[in-house]
Symmetry: C2
Subunit: 311 residues, 2 copies
């Protein structure tokens, strides 16, 4: 599909792309670049590329497709670094969780002779680093592309075909709409999860940390998965999608205060109505193919053979 693909950054997404590209045979050559020598050495041990460099520009040289897979806080610097090395007609994309900021940071650096098509695969786990990737990460997940007005149709088509080959569904929308949609489906959930885990940790004077851990199967442990996500990546997301995050957070808090009031005043009917309505959303997500229908995520572990309904 491509002769040479450059992966700039080789964490969860970069390494998963490497596995997917290899598995589906999407490139003759994978050029890996990352800033930290230890990470590059580990990527090489894992065989994630065909060439390795500490220089993003070196990896991008002669690449037909350059995928920037770094935290969004550094994409501007990377764009500036690779710009002179890009070959004519190259496609440049990224995988960042925010899009308007990425475009504002990258586009000014990129020459007209290349095609810039920002992207975001809505997929991940709580793990990070070159060891965490796997080929199926993108399978049946959605990849959102936010091509700017006047983007080259052929480049968008080729990038769409690439993500489909990785197993993804692909949808295009404006960067602004992306940032609002993801604020609610991803950024706010992460913020809430980080916050509740922090609140629990700070309760130590009344409830010990060991009690929080032991009795976490009551629901709390679910939140700790998301709150174990990469700190650098998420700091950058909140700093660069500030407006949409603050807007959805405002709505969340408003709803929460109303719910608090219902509890204080014993309004059981209102609670029951909300708790019934939210059940339907999960059914929709399962029907949309975005979630398992196994109870408890089909969770296994801790010596627990997992739910077997009807056993």
């Amino acid at each position: 599909m491509f002769d040479r693909i450059a992966l700039i950054g080789i964490g969860l997404i970069g390494s998963s792309l490497s596995h997917a590209i290899r598995q589906k045979g999407l490139a003759n050559h994978i050029a890996v670049a990352t800033r930290r020598p230890e990470t590059l050495a580990r990527a090489e041990e894992l065989g994630l590329g065909d060439s390795y460099s500490l220089s993003a520009a070196d990896a991008a040289t002669d690449a037909d497709l350059v995928i920037v897979c770094t935290p969004v806080g550094v994409v501007g610097a990377i764009a500036g670094e690779i710009a002179p090395a890009l070959k004519d007609g190259a496609i440049v994309t990224d995988v960042g969780s925010v899009k308007a900021h990425v475009i504002a940071e990258m586009a000014p650096h990129l020459p007209d002779r290349v095609h810039f098509v920002p992207g975001h695969p809505v997929a991940g786990t709580e793990q990070s680093g070159p060891d965490s990737g796997f080929a199926d990460l993108f399978q049946d997940r959605w990849c959102i592309l936010t091509p700017p007005d006047g983007a080259d149709a052929d480049a968008v088509e080729r990038l769409t075909a690439f993500w489909r080959a990785c197993g993804s569904n692909v949808e295009a929308m404006s960067a602004e709409h992306h940032d609002l949609v993801l604020a609610i489906t991803s950024h706010l959930p992460h913020l809430i999860a980080y916050n509740i885990v922090g609140t629990a940790a700070d309760l130590e004077t009344v409830v010990s940390e060991s009690e929080v851990m032991k009795f976490s199967a009551g629901g709390f442990r679910d939140f700790t998965r998301i709150a174990a996500s990469d700190p650098t990546m998420w700091r950058d997301v909140f700093l660069t999608n500030k407006d949409a995050v603050l807007e959805t957070l405002g709505r969340f808090t408003e709803d929460l205060i109303a719910l608090q009031r219902s509890i204080r005043w014993g309004e059981g009917d209102k609670l029951f109505e909300l708790f019934t309505r939210t059940r339907a959303i999960r059914r929709g997500i399962i029907e949309a193919g975005q979630e398992t229908d196994a109870p408890d995520f089909g969770r296994h572990g801790a010596g627990e053979p997992g739910p077997k309904p009807g056993e």
Copy 2:
């Protein structure tokens, strides 16, 4: 271990207890009672008991151990119903997610000739009803007992042995401490999850419900599992553990407002510090045997073969 065990209520917990009791051979006879004829008929089809009754008193008659497995809103009525039928020396317990309220409601009805030892297995899935139970639900989870002052030591010991035989770890504490601990490890997480799913559903004017579902793998879908929990059970929990829930919710909101301010003012260091600290809590929970260490809960489904690190 017991001759006759009565299960009053046969939802997720009651039916899981039935499977566990059968699998481990903990009783000669399981008497099942539930209020709704359809549920009782289904329990009978599933073979969850040795006898079936719409009357809690009938099931409790001659039982050595009576386990009330209903939503906490009705435990007082049940205690009043079974009290005259209880045999001398019977152990009466429950599985409710709140304890002070359960004791206040049940204890006044129960005669001195029986042993009341309230309990709470901290285990569950988002499913409910007699079909949802499975024997391993309690395996490696914690069961909290809150025996009142002067509780019969032998009865506490027998109930502890029962839960251990079901696979649980057992810990005793005061009802008040239980309600505070569970407010943070279970009740607040449920409240937050219900709230964010409600907020997302109400965003429809700016983000469509289908977009919320499609892009839910960004984190949101995790919350929908908890927000799919039984509405009656959870309404009752919030109405009956009001003080502890409002106290922990107040702390959560306070922390969230501080986090919101950090985002607004671009305090990246504060965000990074919190996001790093929360990672450690998950490691502790995994080490405490209360969570799987598989990425993404080892989640399978939607045609996705699941993460295979290092693939």
